[in-house]
Symmetry: C2
Subunit: 336 residues, 2 copies
């Protein structure tokens, strides 16, 4: 795209790259972009937008693109192929699939879609906490088998939830737990308490809080530091009556150890929304592990997902034009 002379307003090129391999929910289609333009008319006038599918126009678009929305950006010789590229927006919150970030030119910003997930994550965690407290995994197995086995459980208020990670999803889990009358302990890098947690603990001291948990909610991104954080030894610190919820990333928890413990009744239950690989294969033993509820990575996404992404992107674009720092920037050192 030829650059305009300096007396005319600068037009930026935004290239949107979609992958048909991803769910339709995560496709930024022409109609979704057109709807976003109606909400951001003035900003949209400063853009030329191209929308590609599975790389069909990628190489051509890269030549002039200033910005890109792309969850699997091309990593090979990126600066050479995309000389004007300043900013890549991913469509998900987790960028573990892009690590390590050594392919990313130092002057290209990387932003994620953190913040899109709060309301759904809060609903999901509220439901999952109550399902664990009510022993719903056992009830659903009994329904499958046509067995009437009443299990009476106490109200959930007063129990303790340990929430691992306390960003967008962790705060949502914290709100869910507080709404149900639970005490919330946040496990974070800093160990500084953040609302709505009642208290916090450094991740380096996680062993001190795991024995207190009636529920553990895993919400962390996957990084070198969180991989296998809940390993077998740490899972062994949990009460046998405890339940585990994972809405973060599956490799943060040793699922083999988790399954062993569930089968032996050394843990009361688990509600798992994230798996490895996804889709979970039909022959995975996880589907039928004792006292597990498997959901297909739906905890944090709602049908308006890409509308929200567009709104977040336009708000960031306005910041960029105003010379302000972008929000939702990935920290290269931390990897999220």
């Amino acid at each position: 795209m030829p650059r305009k002379s300096s007396t005319e307003p600068r037009i930026y090129h935004l290239h949107v790259e979609n992958s048909r391999k991803r769910q339709a929910l995560f496709h930024l289609t022409e109609p979704i972009y057109a709807a976003a333009v109606k909400r951001h008319r003035a900003l949209a006038k400063k853009l030329k937008v191209t929308i590609g599918w599975d790389g069909d126009i990628l190489d051509e678009a890269l030549k002039t693109a200033d910005f890109m929305i792309n969850s699997s950006p091309p990593r090979e010789r990126l600066r050479e192929r995309a000389p004007h590229l300043q900013w890549i927006q991913t469509t998900g919150a987790g960028i573990d699939g892009l690590l390590p970030l050594d392919w990313l030119p130092a002057d290209v910003a990387l932003t994620n879609n953190s913040g899109a997930h709060g309301a759904k994550a809060e609903d999901y965690c509220t439901m999952a906490l109550l399902m664990l407290q009510t022993r719903a995994p056992a009830m659903f197995a009994n329904q499958r088998d046509g067995k009437w086995v009443p299990i009476f459980t106490m109200p959930i208020a007063g129990k303790t939830a340990v929430v691992i990670g306390f960003g967008d999803l962790g705060s949502a889990a914290g709100r869910a737990a507080r709404k149900l009358g639970l005490k919330v302990i946040a496990v974070t890098r800093s160990g500084k308490a953040a609302k709505p947690a009642n208290s916090a603990c450094k991740v380096t001291r996680i062993e001190s809080v795991l024995p207190k948990a009636d529920f553990v909610v895993v919400t962390t991104p996957l990084t070198a530091g969180t991989r296998n954080l809940l390993n077998r030894a740490r899972l062994d610190l949990l009460k046998p009556t405890a339940g585990l919820i994972n809405i973060g990333r599956s490799p943060v928890v040793d699922y083999d150890a988790l399954s062993d413990k569930l089968e032996k009744n050394e843990l009361a239950g688990a509600v798992l929304d994230v798996h490895n690989p996804e889709p979970l294969p039909a022959d995975s033993p996880m589907w039928t592990t004792r006292n597990v509820i498997v959901t297909p990575h739906i905890s944090c996404d709602d049908p308006r997902y890409m509308d929200f992404l567009c709104d977040t992107w336009f708000a960031n674009f306005a910041r960029k034009l105003a010379g302000k720092p972008l929000t939702n920037q990935v920290d290269r050192a931390l990897g999220y």
Copy 2:
């Protein structure tokens, strides 16, 4: 039991009758009574207590009993067999099994255990509303079949719940719904709004609110007036995206019509805790009805159930000694 002379304190005879056919949760055993005595020492000193099982000492006990705790009181010639009986306490909230009350002498009070169920009912309704919103019934069926089928749904806030009956259980359902950000319409006899409902509607005008419901929560006792209240014609007024929760009594809803509509996708789902008969037989088609979650009548009871019953009973006993009216009295005309 011989009456003491008037200079000595009056000792009352409380007979507790248990049925081994009922779940252990509903047995008022010696240890449970002994624990209650520790909480109510002064009052307990005014009592002689007998505990019978399946009628083993019933006839003898009736001769002197002033009070009885019994969910299936003897109906035949009750006044003749129990000349001193003043008050019967049932262990459940619903007394539909005792209707009509023509067997009950006019001067014998009948109280139920309403009020024991609020906290659990609130938890259950919170969970059930979110399960319907998240389309959990379909997800659990997919888990059973090892199928990964992501279904993305909106956050629940802003939806409308129509709660039928607004006593102890209905208020709990209302609190659950409000906590999740829902609008609550209570359907009651009087049609007067009661907190935490946003508005109310007379049961005679129920047709006007059913089309507004995203969720219907049935909490009414079973009486002549509520039997088949949600018949096929009224279920037909619901949106096809609506879900139904029943924690009251099953005959309030036409389950055959409900099942038909669920199988045809004319309703989105149902979470049913009450059934007919209970236990639900292993060959009941309800276990496998499309988009139904069956739970075994556990929504409103917790393991402290009989402790709570004892506390309620002692509080009422204190009222009786003070000449005050009993709480939780069943209205003979209304039948609940």
